[in-house]
């Protein structure tokens, strides 16, 4: 049994223990494995994440980034190992304090406003004033009555982010939320994400976009072939990655 104490946790809280989600941290992952179709896809991951800030997960296609995020959020059941949020195993009470934005936004077949109302009602406080505030924050106030599925890709992703944030999550997972967006829409998503981070929400963000990673990351997790090769503070990672694979990946070399 490894020592579970968060000895070398990178803790990025600006204000100590004031964050509402502080009790969920550290997130400790121990020897996490996941297999499907007879293949081991996540191969014994150990990872510790501290409260607050933005953790960026990077790595080549098929490295297992999305799988790891789904495992952390409880969308997938691990085949082995441990995930503990502040020492607690993942349960629905903890999952309700998390939210996720997917690579392709899932829009309910309703108006923009109704997409927000759906989560407000789900968390027990449907409130038109609050909805308006949320839509304004996402720059979608003038689209409230429009069918959500007729929004542009960028607007859909903004709505998906606003809807996720409407649950006031302590942890927000984002799986390549801007991979299909233009630079302007990407920056809007990043700004909303940073605002959420500043309010104390822990962000775990997957991206292939090096510029975006540099803009957002407080710490970087680099994955390759179902393993975490390194977890470093952002400055150190971008300056001099510890693993050769991460260096090659950032230099644009093909790594196998």
């Amino acid at each position: 049994m490894r020592d579970l104490r968060p000895a070398n946790v990178i803790d990025l809280r600006n204000t100590q223990d004031s964050g509402a989600g502080a009790d969920l941290f550290p997130l400790t992952v121990e020897d996490l494995t996941y297999q499907a179709g007879g293949t081991v896809l996540i191969k014994g991951i150990d990872l510790t994440l501290g409260a607050g800030g933005v953790t960026v997960i990077m790595g080549p296609n098929g490295a297992g980034k999305s799988l790891l995020l789904r495992l952390l959020h409880g969308l997938l059941e691990p085949s082995g190992g441990w995930i503990a949020w502040g020492g607690q195993p993942l349960d629905d009470a903890i999952r309700r304090r998390q939210a996720m934005v997917f690579q392709r936004a899932v829009m309910l077949r309703r108006s923009v406003a109704a997409n927000i109302d759906f989560v407000l009602r789900l968390r027990g406080r449907a409130d038109p004033a609050r909805r308006r505030e949320i839509l304004e924050h996402a720059g979608l106030a003038d689209r409230a009555e429009q069918p959500a599925r007729l929004l542009s890709g960028g607007e859909q992703q903004r709505l998906a982010l606003a809807r996720a944030l409407a649950t006031e999550p302590d942890v927000l997972f984002m799986d390549e939320p801007t991979s299909n967006l233009d630079p302007a829409s990407t920056l809007v998503i990043e700004d909303i994400t940073k605002a959420a981070r500043d309010r104390g929400t822990k962000i775990v963000f997957i991206t292939h976009d090096m510029g975006q990673a540099r803009r957002l990351a407080d710490d970087v997790v680099f994955m390759h072939r179902g393993k975490v090769l390194e977890h470093s503070p952002a400055a150190a990672f971008f300056n001099q990655p510890a693993s050769a694979e991460a260096g090659d990946y950032m230099a644009g070399k093909i790594i196998l």
Binding site: H73, R95, R96
Partner: protein, 235 residues
């Protein structure tokens, strides 16, 4: 046999004079089939939604059963309901045989599997798209079913109209359990069958025209719904 043209003429004059007997038959037809649709819709959509979002042992068997029951022959349904409702049957004490209620039961049983099977498919397709997002939000199962039913509303209305079409058009089940009793259990299809065999083609034809009109209206409604749904990207 009456002259073909004459039959048409009489048919339309019956229709446009709102002949009392004709209106009674049309009224009962609508009442029976719409009530059957309501009953089968409530149960069928619930079963469809449940089968779509839950996983349990024996689900595969349940799907096969529901799907194959879509093709139940109306006369067989009629026969089974007849046996249940007849004096000697287990539900004979209710005294429902040869009443409109018996016909409602028969039509509801006939279209229940259609509504359940088709709605299951519609809701499951939608659920596949929503599942991760719903799981991410921790939406409870009952709530999930309700939200899916709402978001699939256009497709489900189409399913309901398919059920209504089938109920309105069938003759085998209602003639067995209703008995085609004048002023009591006579609906459009059973009247057409009876009048045709009696040689009174005018009345039969008049009813045929009404049935066709209803079928066309239902189809137009389905197309209109689909167009609306597409326009709003809700399809």
């Amino acid at each position: 046999m009456q002259d073909f043209g004459e039959a048409f003429f009489t048919a339309f004059s019956l229709l446009f004079s709102f002949d009392a007997d004709l209106m009674e038959v049309i009224g009962l037809s609508l009442r029976v089939s719409l009530t059957a649709l309501l009953v089968a819709g409530l149960i069928g959509l619930s079963i469809g939604a449940l089968l779509a979002v839950t996983r349990f042992p024996g689900r595969g068997v349940a799907l096969v059963v529901v799907n194959s029951m879509m093709g139940l022959p109306p006369v067989v349904v009629g026969l089974i309901i007849y046996m249940l409702l007849s004096n000697a049957g287990p539900l004979g004490f209710l005294g429902l045989l040869y009443t409109p209620t018996a016909m409602i039961i028969a039509q509801a049983v006939l279209i229940l599997p259609i509504i359940a099977a088709l709605s299951r498919q519609v809701i499951e397709d939608l659920h596949n798209e929503y599942a991760d997002q719903f799981r991410s939000f921790c939406v409870p199962t009952g709530r999930m079913m309700a939200e899916l039913l709402w978001d699939a509303r256009y497709s489900l209305l189409t399913v309901m109209l398919a059920g209504l079409g089938r109920a309105m058009a069938e003759v085998g089940a209602v003639i067995i359990v209703g008995g085609n009793i004048n002023h009591l259990t006579r609906v459009m299809t059973t009247t057409i069958a009876l009048e045709t065999s009696k040689g009174d083609l005018a009345l039969a034809l008049g009813l045929g025209v009404v049935l066709l009109t209803i079928a066309l209206t239902i189809n137009a409604a389905v197309m209109g719904l689909n167009a609306t749904a597409k326009r709003q990207a809700y399809a």
